[in-house]
Structures are given as structure tokens and as C-alpha cells.
């Protein structure tokens, strides 16, 4: 019986395009450029762009989000193949991004009055933040899925799907940071992280169903 299988498989053979990591990086870069352009054209740069450059706020915010984004893409490339394992060196961007986040928590809780931090959560900007990251992230996830994720063969489909969701959320959040002028770490912790985590959960659920092989 196995000889029949071998005959069928040989007969069915076509040249293959191998899954290249650089294609994922190119897709993500393209997605990020497009999303950033749309955000700048539709919503505009943050109004205090000059001030935020001087104070460094825009730099640490984008630095933190883009470090985590780079980490998530590294992890996706690591775990997409049957023999894939996470490389320890790929945790460096995660350490940088988390380090910035933790530093800002400590720094802002020491230098900013607590009622100021709470006030930063009020208003409608939080809802628009969540909506944009969620909707934009869903679109980015669909593109990433079509171009790369569905072609993979992961050991853990749920984990890969979740990382894809996380990555698409971080991608849009990084672009959105060009417009959003709220630098409160409490605001970022709540209104950025909620949609990113939701996208990770959705991605994981889709991965569990669709990435089995």
C-alpha cells in the first residue's frame, strides 16, 4: 500500500516556493507603512509632535511598541515550522520593550500625581484607541494570515495564532502612537493592551481551528 502512496505523491509533485522569513518581515513592514500612512493622513500626527520629540515621549512610546513588535515577529518565524524552536537571542527586543514599560511605570508613578494619571483615562479617546487598534489589527491579522501564517506547520497552532494576533495588534498600536498624544503609562497599559490581548486571544482561537495539520 505504501508503494501506491509513494507513486501518487511523486506524481503529484510540483516545484515548491519555500517559506522564507524575509517574506514575513516584508509583509509586516508593508502593512506597518500602509497603516501609518492612513493614520497620518486621516487623523494626523499628534498635535504636540515637537514637544513630544523634545521630551522623548514619542520616542520611548514608539520604541517600546516597536521592540515588542519585532520580538513578536521573531517568535512567529521561530515557531512556524515543525522543527521550530524559539531562539534565546530573539528575547532581546522583548527585554528592551518590557524594560521601557516597567521604567515608565516607575518613573511616572514617582513624578506624576495619581489624580493626573486617573484623569488621563477619562474622555472618549480611550474608546477610539481601542477601536482603531482592534479594527486595524484585525485587518493586519487577515493580511498576515493570507500572506504567511496559513502556509505554516507549527507544533503549537494556538501559540502561533496568538502570536500572529499579538503582532498585528502591536503593529497598529505602533502606527497609532504617531497620532496619539496621551503618554500616560496607565492609559497605554489599559487602552493599548486590551485590544492587543483581545487580538491575541482571537488569533489563538483561529489558529487552534485552522492551523492544524
Amino acid at each position: 500500500m505504501s508503494d501506491n502512496i509513494i507513486d501518487s505523491l511523486v506524481e503529484d509533485l510540483k516545484p515548491k516556493k519555500t517559506l522564507l522569513n524575509k517574506n514575513l518581515w516584508i509583509s509586516c513592514s508593508g502593512c506597518f507603512s500602509f497603516i501609518s500612512l492612513v493614520i497620518i493622513l486621516v487623523l494626523g500626527f499628534r498635535l504636540d509632535i515637537q514637544l513630544s520629540l523634545q521630551s522623548g515621549a514619542i520616542l520611548w512610546k514608539i520604541g517600546m511598541l516597536s521592540s515588542l513588535l519585532v520580538w513578536s515577529i521573531f517568535i512567529i518565524t521561530d515557531i512556524s515550522r515543525p522543527d521550530g524552536n524559539i531562539q534565546k537571542i530573539h528575547y532581546i527586543p522583548f527585554i528592551i520593550g518590557s524594560g521601557i514599560f516597567i521604567y515608565q511605570i516607575i518613573f511616572q508613578s514617582l513624578t506624576t500625581a495619581h489624580n493626573e494619571l486617573i484623569i488621563s483615562l477619562k474622555g472618549f479617546s480611550g474608546i477610539s484607541c481601542i477601536s482603531i487598534i482592534l479594527l486595524g489589527g484585525a485587518m493586519a491579522l487577515a493580511v498576515m494570515w493570507q500572506l504567511w501564517i496559513k502556509k505554516t506547520a507549527p507544533k503549537d497552532p494556538y501559540k502561533l495564532g496568538a502570536m500572529a494576533g499579538l503582532s498585528s495588534g502591536l503593529l497598529v498600536a505602533t502606527g497609532y502612537a504617531l497620532h496619539c498624544d496621551n503618554d500616560s503609562i496607565l492609559y497605554i497599559g489599559l487602552y493599548y493592551i486590551i485590544p492587543i490581548v483581545l487580538l491575541a486571544i482571537i488569533g489563538g482561537a483561529i489558529g487552534k481551528k485552522k492551523l492544524n495539520w
Partner: protein, 178 residues
Amino acid sequence: MTTYNNHRWNEWIKATINGDKSSYRMLLTNLRPWLMSYFRKRIHKEAVEDLVQETLMSLHTKMHTYNPEKPFGPWISAVARHRWIDYMRKTLKHIELEFKEEIFMPDDNREKGAKDDIKKLLKLIPPAQAEVIDMVKLQEMTIAETANKTGHSQSSVKVMIHRGIKKMAIAVKDAEYE
């Protein structure tokens, strides 16, 4: 011949990716005995042929995920392992369903094979849980008989079986990352 022949496999898989059918045939023909040997060590003999075929199918459909800059051996080992873990998960699900629905399948070759596979996994869970699963599933005692013999209540026996199956599923999942 069941030798892990990384050097030849690397040559053949690279030619296969470019569409070379004769290299592909050589690769599949050479992989088959190695896969037979791989699975014979892990599952009962009646299921070996099926798993070999499933692994060859997975190789065919997921070949594009192989990185030509790396050796082929670890990749095909990972594919075979994935198929084995999938098989063990299905076996455990089947066993769990039997216990839930209290439907015990008639003894046939497939059932006998599943028993052999379960025997291997029993070593990975606490002895008390292994003992009750062994009595109910392998020795085909009823829950009542098992409860009598072990001194546990019938509901305790059911809980121990359920937990033991969960632990075996976790052990199979952990094997994925070894």
C-alpha cells in the same frame, strides 16, 4: 535499512523542492523504513503503516516549510513526532469518551493496539491513577469491581480515571517540546 541518512536526504529534498521527481521517489523510498522503525518503538504494530502514510502525506503537503539551509533529518523527525502526538491525543480522547459515555468498544485489533499504547503512557502518571485505569481499561473490570478491589468509592474511581487521562494528555503534549 533504517539508517538516519541525513546527507543523502539533504541532497534529495533540495532536488525535490525544485520539482525533481526521481529524487523525491528516492527520498520517500528511503524514508519509509526509517519511519517504520521510528513508529514501531512508539505505538502498536497495527497502527504503524497508517502513521507512516500520514507522515509521508504531511511531508508532501508541508514540504515548503522545510528550510533548505538546515539539515532535513530534524525536520522530518519533527513531522513524524507531530503525527505520533496527534495519534496519541486521538487515542486518549477515544478512551475518555468511552469512560464518559460508559460505552466500551468490542475487542478488536484497533482496540488491542490502543491498549498497548495506553500501557506505555501509564508509566507517566501517579501509580494510584495508573492502577485504576489499568483495571478498567486494560483488565476490563467494571467501575464497581475496581472500586471494591482498591477500596475507593465508585465516584473516586471515576475522578481518578478522568485525572489520569488528563495527565497522560499533558505528558503527550510535553513530549512535543522535548
